[in-house]
């Protein structure tokens, strides 16, 4: 009998160790093992700086963006099962793509919810990319070896907008058609824009060719590029030594040890501690009793925090998707534009600018902004190198006093775009004339 129990235990043990390669006790070794023996957790270091899990360090903005990307991938793949990128007029006189939207809304179980979730997550992602970028800049986290990662982040941001934009066309309703029509007309103003527009649309105008191209870009090309760049983005964060932090974090308020679980030391060398697993990263070597005290095991604190952000994102998004239906207008009619014809909201700032002057508003200002922002860390490095008085590499410090000018300029740019977008969404009515939202509600796209 005992033997049998023994054998069962052994079998169970073997089974367990085939799934997990570790136990779940409180030793440092286990906590390390958990982190590096799991493919999902391994992207993160075993030990992290305590300030990394503090809310004010990142506000979880980058993580939310990433989770939204995951949600978008999952819901997007599900939506693909019920979608056809075709403008062919179907049996009841509606374009195929559009009647698929109607189907999703009416007779596909959960279809409306998944579509809502996809649409709102897409809008959310654009917004959170912008917020994440703002956070990074204001905390000076684009400096200290992270300059190139900032560039990759900017490319990711542009990809996000472009992904949203390509997805905008797919329902093939009036909103989609005229939003994309306006967007591609803006592209035409740029030097060489006609070429890009031709490649994007595959025709002289938005039509069936454009729908297929946008579809392939949306479901295959852009997500693949995006996934790859996200991997690079994350990898570089680790190789740059984790989240940006000030040179000296000694005096910061730290998380008390019991907050992340006791760590038993069952090493033979009772006085020894596992400081840090060997990693070739930038930054200072841990110093005994100094930097090390600021380090903590990523398991379970960091993972829990990340789960909290994930659940929060999903919960909030599903609430929004239950409460608000994603917009769907009448089927696209190339002969009768909506009045006004508005691009999606993240382009409305641009559209507002274009309404003043095509070239300056459509190319010069946004070009300077996009290019300037992307190479901002290098401009700072340039100034540092060639101007002795410019010393503003202060990574990881919110609103560093020395950087007041830069920070206010950056916030100013955000406010400028925000005001333009608000004007575009709420204050523009028929024929792009000014309306007051408290007098009449602006309609015709923008969302």
């Amino acid at each position: 009998m005992n033997e049998l129990i023994q054998q069962a235990k052994e079998f169970g043990n073997k089974l367990y160790y085939s799934f997990f390669r570790h136990r779940f006790d409180n030793t440092g070794l286990t906590k390390s093992k958990i982190m590096f023996s799991n493919v999902l957790l391994h992207i993160q270091p075993v030990k992290i700086h305590k300030r990394s899990v503090k809310f004010k360090t990142t506000m979880g903005l980058g993580l939310i963006t990433f989770y939204l990307f995951l949600i978008l991938s999952v819901t997007g793949i599900l939506l693909m099962f019920h979608y056809v990128p075709s403008t062919a007029i179907g049996p009841d006189g509606l374009p195929d793509a559009y009647s698929r939207m109607l189907n999703l809304r009416s007779n596909v179980f959960w279809g409306g919810f998944l579509r809502n979730m996809h649409r709102w997550a897409a809008h959310g992602m654009v917004a959170f990319v912008a917020l994440h970028m703002l956070r990074v800049y204001l905390a000076g986290a684009h400096r200290g070896g992270r300059e190139f990662n900032w560039v990759i982040g900017c490319i990711l941001g542009l990809l996000t907008v472009f992904l949203s934009y390509t997805g905008y066309l797919l329902p093939w309703d009036q909103l989609a058609f005229w939003g994309v029509k306006v967007g591609t007309e803006i592209a035409k103003i740029a030097p060489g824009g006609a070429l890009i527009r031709g490649i994007l649309l595959g025709d002289t105008d938005v039509g069936s060719e454009a729908l297929i191209r946008f579809y392939v870009l949306h479901v295959a090309v852009l997500p693949a590029v995006m996934g790859f760049l996200i991997a690079v983005h994350f990898f570089r964060i680790r190789k740059d030594g984790g989240l940006a932090r000030p040179a000296n974090t000694q005096n910061e308020k730290q998380i008390p040890d019991e907050e992340f679980g006791e760590v038993k030391n069952n090493s033979v060398f009772k006085s020894a501690r596992s400081y840090k697993l060997v990693e070739i990263v930038k930054g200072n070597e841990p110093k005994v009793n100094e930097e090390t005290d600021q380090m903590m095991f990523a398991w379970p604190k960091l993972i829990t925090r990340e789960l909290i952000v994930l659940m929060g994102t999903i919960a909030f998004l599903s609430l929004i998707s239950v409460l608000f239906d994603a917009p769907l207008e009448g089927p696209a009619d190339p002969n009768h534009p909506t009045n006004p014809s508005k691009a999606p909201w993240y382009f409305l700032g641009l559209q507002e600018l274009v309404s003043y002057h095509g070239f300056i508003g459509g190319i010069v200002i946004p070009g300077i902004m996009a290019g300037g922002v992307m190479f901002l860390p290098y401009i700072e490095i340039f100034l540092e190198t060639f101007t002795k008085t410019y010393r503003k590499n202060i990574p990881g410090v919110w609103f560093a006093r020395e950087r007041n000018l830069e920070n206010s300029l950056f916030i100013g740019m955000y406010l400028f775009m925000l005001i333009l977008i608000i004007i575009g969404v709420y204050f523009r009515g028929e024929n792009w004339a000014i309306v007051y939202p408290w007098v009449e509600t602006a309609v015709g796209g923008g969302h």
Binding site: P91, D92, L102, R105, W110, K301, T304, M311, V322
Partner: protein, 586 residues
């Protein structure tokens, strides 16, 4: 740590609840409730909810129709007394024993429009923004009969509202301006052959009742007979039924198909009675009514009783004012004599029909006593255009172009006193002002002029006086330019005139000089003169001198400003251009 775990628990709970909500929302759709209620009302066991989809197949298209998922009882007579949406559909063909329309095959959206795919009421009834075919409720669905049945003429049981609309369209002379292929052809107003395919029902109603609601520059009058709901509904249903896309071709149309009558019976012999019928838009001896003048024009009977529409000028004196030839030409194409008239063209009238109308119009012989006083004369002959307050805002003036003269502007009356009598006696060419010499005697005209002058100048300041300038003569070396700007030596030059006109005149008078410049509609009464109206410009009273004065000094009491900054030579050039342009416009 426990804090983090609690947060996680709360968020997990929230996520769980919201997911559950989304699934409940997806499961608990309206049609399930309706089907449960339906079987309960029937007293039968609920067999489980089901989306009842009809794939409506016709030779050309097939439509997806899920309406009967909620409207479960549509074809069940036992459900007759149930509430919406469970109730049975009322019979479509009145009196028919079994209705030939089988909803299990044709669904609902074929007749009622809306969004057949949707299962949620708001969606399904097409009430969301931008949906092209909002639902046609109840009788309005008769607009869709035409998709399968031939409805151009004849009678189809159950389509009474549509047929009433068709009658109204003919009787009220809508066809005079609007083309519907097979019924009329006119370039006056938007074509309505595919009105139902292009516009939704509410848009049509709006455009019928308030023509300017959807098109600010619409010239369509606001008819006073369209203000009862049934009339509007009938007309809108008829127009909604004008659709090019049909589900059935003529040879595959279902039972009940009636071939349209191919040829119209025409009036062949002129008679007053035929003219009266045409005038009233009533059928005459089997001929289909294709007139209806009375809808726009009024006339007085022998007792001076006025009756008819107030969109065009009153026709009581028109034969005496205009003469037979003018009237006939005006009926066939009103733009021959008055370029900006909105009157429809009746090109397809034959000689007999024209003669009949003229004969009928000639029977009006109402006339005032010649000894009548000014007020009485004015009220009879002038008031409908020039208005009770003499401000040119008479009852019909809104539809006239150019507008009738506004006598309340004393500057004008003082400046052009001597022109009055001539205008009354001989009329003003190219406008709605006719010549009254065959109706009014010399004395009556004088009484009228005196009356108008007296009324107009009652409160006028006495010191207003118009300058008098002479038309400069080419080659007159003696004459100094106005304000001594130079010497005039040449006759007007058309090429230079075009340039000057484009620079100074087009914002009001328009590039084509037709008085329809971009600012024209923003101006106050009267509108800028149409300068290619040849009947107007070729009258004796519109001399070069008058044009010169009008340009240089402006026209008193109108928005035409003075142009004393222009050189005399430039004004002469402009006049030369206007003259040449008028010739060309012929």
């Amino acid at each position: 740590m426990i804090k983090d775990y609690r947060t996680l628990l709360i968020l997990a709970f929230a996520g769980f609840v919201f997911f559950a909500m989304s699934m409940k929302k997806a499961l608990d759709q309206d049609y399930v409730k309706h089907q449960k209620a339906y079987y309960k009302a029937l007293g039968e066991e609920f067999p489980g909810a089901e989306i009842k989809q009809v794939n409506v197949k016709t030779p050309s298209v097939a439509m997806i129709d899920r309406c009967q998922s909620c409207h479960v009882g549509a074809s069940n007579p036992e459900a007759a007394g149930f509430d919406q949406p469970l109730t049975a559909h009322p019979s479509i063909v009145p009196g028919a024993e079994t209705d030939p329309h089988d909803f299990a095959k044709i669904g609902c959206a074929v007749c009622h429009d809306g969004n057949g795919r949707a299962l949620e009421e708001h969606d399904a009834h097409g009430e969301f923004h931008g949906w092209i075919k909002p639902m046609l409720v109840g009788q309005k669905a008769q607009a869709s009969c035409v998709r399968c049945h031939a409805m151009e003429s004849g009678h189809l049981a159950g389509a009474e509202l549509y047929e009433k609309g068709r009658e109204l369209f003919l009787e009220k002379a809508c066809w005079g301006c609007h083309t519907i292929a097979g019924i009329s052809s006119s370039s006056q107003a938007p074509e309505l052959t595919d009105a139902g395919g292009k516009f939704n029902y509410d848009y049509l109603v709006e455009s019928i009742v308030h023509p300017k609601a959807n098109d600010e520059n619409s010239k369509m009058p606001e008819f006073d007979w369209v203000h009862d709901e049934e009339t509007v509904m009938a007309l809108a249903t008829y127009l909604k039924g004008q659709q090019k896309a049909r589900l059935r071709s003529e040879d595959s149309a279902p039972i009940g198909y009636i071939k349209p009558k191919s040829d119209q019976v025409r009036i062949e012999k002129p008679s007053v009675a035929a003219g009266r019928a045409l005038f009233a838009g009533a059928p005459f001896e089997g001929a289909i009514a294709k007139g209806g003048c009375v809808n726009c024009h009024a006339f007085r009977n022998d007792d001076g009783q006025l009756s008819g529409g107030n969109i065009g000028p009153e026709l009581t004196w028109t034969m005496r004012n205009r003469g037979e030839e003018y009237v006939k030409e005006h009926i066939v194409n009103s733009r021959v004599h008055a370029p900006d008239s909105i009157m429809p063209t009746f090109k397809d009238y034959n000689e007999a029909e024209l003669d009949s109308l003229v004969a009928f119009l000639s029977t009006f012989d109402y006339k005032l006593d010649s000894a009548s006083e000014g007020q009485k004369l004015y009220d009879a002959y002038c008031v409908s255009c020039h208005g009770e307050d003499m401000d040119g805002q008479g009852i019909v003036s809104a539809m006239l172009d150019p507008y009738p003269r506004d006598f309340s502007k004393h500057q004008f009356v003082i400046s052009y006193e001597e022109r009055f009598k001539d205008s009354i006696l001989n009329g003003v060419g190219g406008t709605a002002m006719p010549a009254w010499k065959n109706v009014l005697g010399e004395k009556e005209v004088e009484t009228l002029v005196e009356f108008i002058k007296q009324k107009s100048l009652e409160q006028a300041p006495t010191n207003f006086k118009r300058m008098d300038v002479e038309l400069p003569k080419p080659g007159d070396a003696e004459r100094l330019d106005y304000k001594e700007k130079g010497t005039v030596i040449e006759a007007g030059d058309v090429a230079r005139g075009i340039k000057a006109f484009q620079a100074n005149c087009t914002s009001c008078h328009g590039k084509l000089a037709n008085g329809k410049g971009p600012s024209a509609y923003a101006l106050e009464h009267p509108l800028p003169r149409n300068l290619i109206n040849k009947e107007f410009l070729n009258q004796a009273s519109v001399s070069d001198e008058r044009l010169y004065q009008s340009i240089l000094l402006g026209v008193a009491g109108t928005p035409m400003p003075s142009h004393d900054f222009l050189k005399d030579q430039t004004i002469l050039d402009i006049i030369a251009f206007i003259r040449a342009n008028t010739e060309e416009a012929e």
